[in-house]
Every structure is written in structure tokens, then in C-alpha cells.
């Protein structure tokens, strides 16, 4: 049987959080399957990259270091990974559900005619019986993801094709160091042998990357606003509450679509998943698309004037009333009691 592979994303010499989260998950899947965890790192001048990934339990790291791989483009990355997978025959391949993983994953899966499940929220090992064909399958990857706008949760399997491929969004899996002293070994990829001139048809001529300013994923208190904030001005009050509570501001998709907040603040199925100790949902009705990204919060306070809002069902406290009236009161009362 093949091993579990994780494709690592590298930005300016640093392995992305989503890749480290997948290595953590990959390690636990490899333990379940009693196989090795392998990782792939492609880039330019990435010597020493192994130090960043070994602590997460990587046994073998495939490194492709070449000028032509410095900036991600679809075709050379696809060629190298397809070639590598033809040799190594992985059992499972995990990628970040990032713009890179969602560009590369489908291309690779099509070239290998293997199944890919996008945006999984949970990955487990389990068995399957195909009653029609009378076939039993052991140790398949259950790829669990919301579908139909988050109203259903589907378990997807790839019974016959390998690798079983899945993408996972940043922040969905937990990141955990296995051991600071864990060591793997490097296998170098012969990039020159794989790349062909036609792999280099697409060129990146300009690039502006920004460091993410918003850090809602790691914030222990999140004040989230929805469409019920009414306006951008109404929404902006949440920054004041966040300020006094040392919290970060999040938003529902409806609030982002309405232009109240930028996309990097979006929480839920098409945004980030958060697990803060306190989540204050202001003017958020709580469609499943949203609650999927925050239901693991330790405590939820819902502020809204709809006593039937779905968010109230998962809230520990429901404050009933006009958000524009309650938010300033909360700021005032907090200041009063912490003096």
C-alpha cells in the first residue's frame, strides 16, 4: 500500500499554516493506516525547509528546488506531481483548499483519473461495502464535506482510484507538533528531467502579495456581524466593542456580500472556521453556512431581534433587541465594570 502525501505550500520560504494543519491530520491518518507520511515541497532556494515540516511527523520529504518553481504556476507543478505520483503511488493526497490547492488539485486528479473531494471538513478512515458489486473495501478515506449550501453533509469515498485526493480549508484542521526531535529524510526530485518546454507556457509577470492583517483564526474572542447590522456604519460599531474586549471582528457571508466587511473576515463554509472561547454573533441569523464555521466556539452569545433566528438554538445566551442599541450598552457596561 502507498503512503499518505501532503502537498506543502511555501510562501517566502515559510510553509503555510494550512499545510502544517494537513501534516498534522496526515500524520494521524498514516498512523491509522500504519504507513508513512510523505510531503512534497516545491520552490526555489528552499534548502532547510525540512526543519519546518519534520516536527509534524514527516517521514519522507520530496523536494523540488528550481528557479522555474519559485512562483506557483499550474503546468510545471502538475507535471512534477503527476510524475512523482506515478512512481510513488500514494494512497492518499491532501492539499490546502487555497487558490493554489484548488487550482492544482483538480488538474492532477484529472491527469491521474483519480477522485478529488473539495473543501473537506473532516477526514476519517473507514470501511465500505459495495452491495451491488459484492465488494468489500477496507481502510478507505472518508471525505466528509458540507454540500448543497451547507444544508447536507456528505461522506464521499473513492473506492477504486488512487490516490484518494482531498482539499481542506485553512483553519479547519488543528495544527499540532508531533515531536520537535522527529526526523525524516529528503528525496530530491529531478526537476530537469520532468519539466518540458510546454509546461512553461504561462508566465506570472506581476505579483502583489499582502501579509494577512486580520487574524480571526487565532483570536480567543470574536465579535461577528451579519446583515442585521443594517449598514457599514452599523457594522463599524463592532470594531469599538472588539477594541475594548481585545477581540477580532468576523462577519457572515451576507455581511461580506453587502460590503460591510472584507472577505478575509468571513466565517463559515466559504470563509474560515474558528473555535474561540467567546463568540458574539450580532445581527446574524445563523444559516448553516455560517454556523458550520463557528459551532465549536466554547461560548456563543447571540444578539438580535428575531426570537426565531436559528443562531439562538446554538447560543448559550440570547440577547433580544436592536443590535445598534445593545452594542454601545455592552461597551459602556464593560468599561464601567473593569475600572
Amino acid at each position: 500500500m502507498g503512503n499518505v502525501f501532503v502537498i506543502c505550500e511555501i510562501e517566502e520560504g515559510k510553509v503555510a499554516d494550512v499545510s502544517l494543519e494537513l501534516l498534522t491530520k496526515g500524520r494521524s491518518l498514516a498512523n491509522d493506516l500504519n504507513c508513512k507520511l510523505e510531503a512534497v515541497a516545491l520552490g526555489h532556494q528552499i534548502k532547510g525547509i525540512e526543519k519546518q515540516v519534520y516536527p509534524y511527523g514527516v517521514d519522507i520529504l520530496h523536494v523540488g528546488d528550481d528557479e522555474r518553481l519559485e512562483v506557483y504556476t499550474t503546468l510545471p507543478y502538475t507535471s512534477i506531481i503527476v510524475e512523482l505520483f506515478k512512481q510513488e503511488k500514494p494512497e492518499i493526497c491532501l492539499l490546502g483548499a487555497s487558490t493554489l490547492g484548488r487550482d492544482l488539485g483538480p488538474r492532477v486528479s484529472s491527469a491521474l483519473q483519480s477522485g478529488l473531494t473539495a473543501d473537506c471538513t473532516s477526514l476519517e478512515i473507514g470501511d465500505h461495502t459495495d452491495k451491488k458489486a459484492g465488494k468489500d473495501y477496507k481502510n478507505l478515506l472518508y471525505q466528509i464535506r458540507p454540500a448543497f449550501g451547507g444544508n447536507i453533509v456528505a461522506t464521499i469515498i473513492n473506492p477504486d482510484c488512487r490516490p484518494q485526493m482531498a482539499t481542506v480549508r485553512e483553519g479547519v484542521m488543528k495544527m499540532e507538533v508531533l515531536s520537535e526531535t522527529h526526523k525524516g529524510r529528503i528525496k530530491n526530485i529531478d526537476v530537469n528531467k520532468v519539466l518540458k518546454p510546454e509546461d512553461l507556457l504561462v508566465k506570472v509577470i506581476e505579483r502583489h502579495m499582502e501579509k494577512s492583517k486580520v487574524n480571526i483564526k487565532n483570536s480567543s474572542i470574536i465579535i461577528a456581524g451579519g446583515y442585521g447590522m443594517g449598514s457599514k456604519e452599523g457594522f463599524n460599531q463592532l470594531y469599538q466593542l472588539a477594541d475594548v474586549l481585545s477581540a477580532e471582528v468576523g462577519a457572515s457571508r451576507a455581511a461580506v456580500d453587502a460590503g460591510f466587511a472584507e472577505h478575509e473576515r468571513q466565517i463559515g463554509q466559504t470563509g474560515v472556521t474558528v473555535r474561540p472561547k467567546l463568540y458574539i454573533a450580532c445581527g446574524i441569523s445563523g444559516q448553516i453556512q455560517h454556523t458550520a464555521g463557528m459551532e465549536e466556539s466554547s461560548m456563543v452569545i447571540a444578539v438580535n431581534n428575531d426570537s426565531n433566528a436559528p443562531i439562538n438554538k446554538i447560543a448559550d445566551y440570547v440577547i433580544n433587541g436592536d443590535v445598534n442599541d445593545i452594542v454601545p450598552k455592552l461597551i459602556k457596561l464593560y468599561k464601567k465594570n473593569t475600572k
Binding site: 512562483v71 504556476t73 499550474t74 503546468l75 502538475t78 487555497s98 487558490t99 484548488r102 488539485g105 483538480p106 486528479s109 484529472s110 483519473q113 477522485g115 478529488l116 473539495a118 473543501d119 471525505q143 454540500a147 448543497f148 449550501g149 444544508n151 447536507i152 456528505a154 461522506t155 464521499i156 469515498i157 473513492n158 518546454p197 510546454e198 507556457l201 504561462v202 506570472v204 509577470i205 506581476e206 505579483r207 502579495m209 499582502e210 474572542i221 474586549l245 472561547k277 467567546l278 454556523t291 461560548m299 436559528p310 439562538n312 438554538k313 447560543a315 448559550d316 445566551y317 440570547v318 440577547i319 433580544n320 433587541g321 442599541d325 445593545i326 450598552k329 455592552l330 464593560y334 465594570n337
Partner: protein, 315 residues
Amino acid sequence: MGFKIIVLAKQVPDTRNVGKDAMKADGTVNRAALPAIFNPEDLNALEQALRLKDRYPGSEVTILTMGPGRAADVIREGLYRGADKGYLLTDRAFAGSDTLATSYAISCAIKKIKDFDLIIAGRQAIDGDTAQVGPQVAEKLNLPQVTYAEEILSMKEGIVAEDDKYGVPHAKLAEELDLKINGTLEIKRRLERGVETVVTPFPCVITVNASAPNCRPRNAKAVMKYKHARTVTEIQDQSEDYLDLTLDRPYLKIEEWSVSDIETDTKWLGLSGSPTKVKKIENVVFQAKESKRISNDEAELEELIVELIDNHTIG
């Protein structure tokens, strides 16, 4: 002159507006309550195609959709907004297709259309949110892909010379590798932490983000012109006194293709061509838990704040 552009569009249930009536009492989805719409990002894709048509007169925009018969609505909607013609790919043999089998069927239809410069699709459809069909169609057709596009900056005909500022030796490559290269596109991509500009030869496949400009509305003249556009099945389903206008006005005919109209290997279609299988579907049901209700009363709010400070949740 101009360019030949194919827009891939999908008819989807409107999962964004899941109102109270869209959930049944048992917590399952009431699909009948969800209207069928033009997938939103496919409209962004259509707008990019129409802008190219505005910029390069003589260009032609063709809608290609795969789905049940009623998906012809998507083609009519495209015609109303400025597209020139459409193809509906419909057959029971496609039922149960995952993204790979879907991409295979679409790529076979595109091979039959044959003459094209560019394929544009939305990044993803709201019923699945996979973003896989665009790249997989590109791979099946062995074409370059540019995903997460926000704007097509330019489309230039002809092969770029080796000493071009982009340094892409298309001319030499095209000759050496016998590649079909009609010209070069410059595209702005919107990534999660920034933007980049890429240069790609075409024919190629582009997928467009929701951050791209919205699609223009229906054009009244186009609505008048195309309101009787029909597929052959729609014409057959009409009562006998229905006046078939497509005979006099061929532009009203929406091409309808089944498996027998395109060249395929049927083992790659439908369920048999789908490596992924759905093992289980669970409907998401909210589990109510005891929540404490607090009114908008200063004393009650203060009690909560003090409680949260005391148990170190805040402060």
C-alpha cells in the same frame, strides 16, 4: 475577425436563499422550494466574454451547458444578455456524474464545437462549491488554465515573438511542438492574499471569480429577438398548434446534444466515469440547546457582563 468564446454555464438550485420554507419540518432540504438559477459566477464569466465581444467586434459568444432539459433556460438567459448561441448537453447517461465525468463530457462537446479561442467558466457552482470542472476541462483538452481570474486585461492575436517582453518563447515553441497557439492573453488573478498578472497563450481555459464585475442586465432587444429560442425537445413538447419559429429563423434554435451526438468513451461517463462515490448523506439539523434569554435591559446586560468578567471569559 474577432474571437470565438465558449462560456460554460450551469443551472443550479439557489442555495444562497435558503429561507424558512426551504427547510422541511424534519430539517431536510425542500428542493422544490429552491428556484433554479444561472450559477452566479458563471454570470461573471459571461460578462468577461461579453466585454471581449465589445472590445473585439466580430467576436462570438457561445453558451455551453450540461443538465436536464430545463437547463435551456440558462442558454436563453445568456442570449438575452448578449450571447450569440448555445448548446445544451443533455442525456440520462450523464446522471450521477462527479466533477471528473462532467468535465469529460463537457470536453467532448467542446471538441465537437472545435473552433474556439477561449473557454470561460465561473470559478465554482454554488450547489457543490468544488471549483474543479474548469481545471479538469482544461486538463482533458490539454490546454493551459488560469483560475481565479478577475479581469481579462488584453487579448492579442498572433504568436508572441521570442524577444517579447514577457519572455515566453511562444513562436519557437509553437513551431517545435506543433502547438495550436492563436494568441496571448493577459489576465489579472485575485488570490486569497493578493493579486497577480499572468500571461498565457490561447486557446486556454479561464475561470472567473465573483469579485469580477457583475453581468450586465438583459437587453430588451435581445429579449425580443430570442424569447422564442427553443431546443428541439421543447418544440416537440409543445401542443400541435404551436408555431415553430426556428424554421424561418435558424438563430432561434438551441442546439441540443445527447451522448450520440458527441464522440465519447461511455465508460468515462456518468456513474462509471466517476471515481468518487457518495457513501452517505446526512441532513443538517439544528440541535437546540438551553439558551439563557436576556432582554435589552441595562440591569440584565450588566449581570451578564459581570458574570463573564468574573469567570475570566472577558477582561
